[in-house]
């Protein structure tokens, strides 16, 4: 006698015990298997794009900090690069190298949280998360040495960086860079052959290559599906064309590949920081920019490879002190497009892992 079942709609979120923020999924379940899913967000929509039209270009830099708050340095960098492209300002070389060092340190910090939270969702409750936090505190100490803040830095300025690094920064960075590969190896050794992790993540939540390109995915999500596309190599900005580094690419597009890509990217970031430290030239860090900046009328689209994907700023200027239109191309919003396709057919426990592997930050999705 067959068992009669009926699909049942439940709500996952917006307040749920993962550190991803206020995200809600209306899932239709048949037993434990998800048959349909609708993502609902907007619980953190603060209207940054509208507020930015009422503030000057420099006053908007703290807004960009609060977009993806786990990667504030990268957000700052993308925005000031876009404004400099619009206004035709060139910055000193020391500032370029400092920006690259900060952006790569920030990439390591963001991936540490991405991987730590992902493993937390997988069931290794708190242990990898606290290990990652231990390393992240070292990076936050370095940032605090430079600009005094732990989370929302407001360090970059239009025309360079706000202040030069103190003397104790480079020796501390040197110590950090020497012990970081050892930490990544220790992590890899604990987890790469772990049967439970492999069973829970291999083959789960596959994003095929054509679909990844079609939904305009970017960052580790795109590279985990086998597409070798990284803005630092495809459209080099700042001084990235002077460094040697690889682009780790997955093959299957499952959650394990996205996790693996992040771990390898941390190693590559350490390589870039080592090279940047050796090549760091002396000089100033900030060019003379008028106090009230009036960029010429026009528009610009400036993009960088942020830790979560391709972060772009589309700015339209009408020669006044505030931008006419300020639009953020949020990588995590666009990466979420295929969430339903990745989740249908899996169980609720897998749904949490698939969602965690995309590594979103709600403040950037909702802006």
């Amino acid at each position: 006698m067959a068992l009669k079942t009926e699909p049942f709609v439940i709500n996952i979120g917006p307040v749920h015990p993962s550190t991803h923020g206020v995200f809600r999924m209306r899932a239709t379940l048949d037993g434990e298997v998800i048959v349909d899913m609708e993502p609902v967000f907007g619980y953190l929509h603060r209207g940054i794009e509208k507020l930015a039209e009422g503030r000057t270009y420099t006053q908007n830099i703290p807004f960009t900090d609060r977009l993806d708050y786990l990667a504030s340095m990268s957000n700052n960098m993308a925005y000031v690069m876009a404004v400099e492209k619009l206004a035709g300002i060139s910055i000193p070389e020391r500032a370029e190298y400092l920006r690259v060092i900060m952006a790569e340190l920030q990439r390591i910090a963001s991936h540490l949280i991405g991987v730590g939270a992902f493993l937390n969702d997988c069931g290794a409750f708190m242990t990898p998360f606290l290990y990652m936090f231990r390393e992240r505190e070292k990076i936050l100490d370095l940032f605090e040495m430079v600009c005094g803040q732990r989370l929302t830095y407001n360090y970059m300025r239009i025309g360079g960086a706000s202040q030069d690094i103190p003397e104790e920064f480079l020796p501390a960075l040197d110590r950090f860079v020497k012990q970081m590969p050892g930490f990544i190896d220790e992590y890899d050794q604990l987890l790469a052959e772990n049967e439970i992790l492999l069973a829970r993540t291999k083959g789960v939540g596959i994003l095929p290559k054509e679909l990844a390109i079609n939904i305009s995915a970017s960052g580790p999500v795109l590279r985990g599906s086998g597409v070798k596309w990284d803005i630092r190599k495809a459209d080099p900005y700042s001084v990235y064309d002077r460094f040697q580094f690889d682009i780790p690419t997955g093959s299957a597009g499952d959650t394990y590949d996205r996790y693996w890509v992040k771990i390898q990217e941390m190693r590559q970031s350490v390589r870039i920081i080592e090279q940047a430290m050796k090549q760091l030239p002396p000089g100033e860090v900030l060019t003379e920019v008028p106090h009230s900046l009036h960029p010429p009328a026009g528009e610009v689209y400036g993009h960088i490879e942020a830790p979560k994907g391709e972060l772009g700023f589309y700015l339209v200027s009408d020669n006044s002190i505030a931008p006419y239109r300020f639009h953020v191309r949020a990588p995590t919003l666009i990466n979420l497009t295929a969430l339903r396709d990745m989740m249908v057919g899996w169980k609720v426990a897998d749904a949490v892992i698939i969602f965690g592997s995309i590594d979103i930050c709600l403040a950037e999705v909702d802006r």
Binding site: V9, P14, V15, H16, P17, T19, G21, V22, R26, T28, V35, D36, M37, E38, G42, Y43, L44, H45, R46, G47, I48, K50, L51, G54, P62, F63, R66, Y69, L70, I113, F129, L130, F133, R134, E137, L140, R150, L151, T152, R340, L362, A363
Partner: protein, 199 residues
């Protein structure tokens, strides 16, 4: 589960539920335009009458303040300073608070770490109502106190005290873990002065 013919995409969208929730949000927004007064009246009474605490009060207050269990309410950036406070460097477990409860029925402290929007406000109010008495609220960060840099936005609630009564305000954007620990210490001092007749 419908499939849209033109685009060939699956469509699952519950518009009835969306409309019902939208109506609830508009209703809450129209009711909550005034700040709820801070629950401080009993503190002034205390100082005026100079009542000494009995030993029962003393034991209860000690037990309550030494094992405050926070509930999950972290929308935005302050969440990461809260998690950093709970991590191993600024250990919050030495105050008995390392268990961050997912279920509000088992928690007695709500640390609001992030900007509140009108869309989220009914859910926060629901979580607060589900917590059992006695319960306390710490408003963490500039966005929680007054809306922060987003105060003039069309969708941001200017401060959590329009929705829930707040006991301690911790300023900062985001506040350092040491600042949050100082705020928690202030809350513990406040709890120490409670009397059992308070309820």
């Amino acid at each position: 589960m419908e499939v849209d013919e033109r685009a060939g995409l699956h469509v699952y969208s519950d518009t009835e539920l969306d409309k019902a929730e939208g109506t609830a949000i508009e209703l809450l927004k129209s009711h909550c335009q005034q700040a709820i007064p801070d629950p401080d009246k009993w503190l002034e009474e205390e100082l005026r009458h100079n009542i000494l605490l009995t030993s029962v009060d003393f034991m209860l207050n000690w037990a309550r303040r030494s094992s405050l269990w926070p509930v999950i309410c972290f929308p935005a950036c302050c969440a990461f300073e809260l998690i950093a406070t709970a991590a191993s460097r600024f250990d919050i477990s030495r105050f008995g608070m390392e268990i961050i409860r997912a279920s509000p029925r088992q928690a007695d402290l709500m640390i609001t770490a992030g900007t509140l929007t009108w869309k989220m406000a009914p859910q926060v109010r629901r979580i607060y109502d589900q917590m059992a008495e006695p319960k306390w609220v710490i408003a963490m960060g500039a966005c929680a106190i007054s809306g922060g840099t987003f105060a003039q936005s069309y969708s941001v609630v200017p401060g959590y005290n329009l929705i829930v009564p707040v006991d301690v305000y911790v300023p900062g954007c985001p506040p350092r873990p040491e600042a949050l620990l100082y705020g928690i210490k202030m809350l513990r001092d406040k709890i120490a002065k409670r009397s059992i007749t308070e309820g």
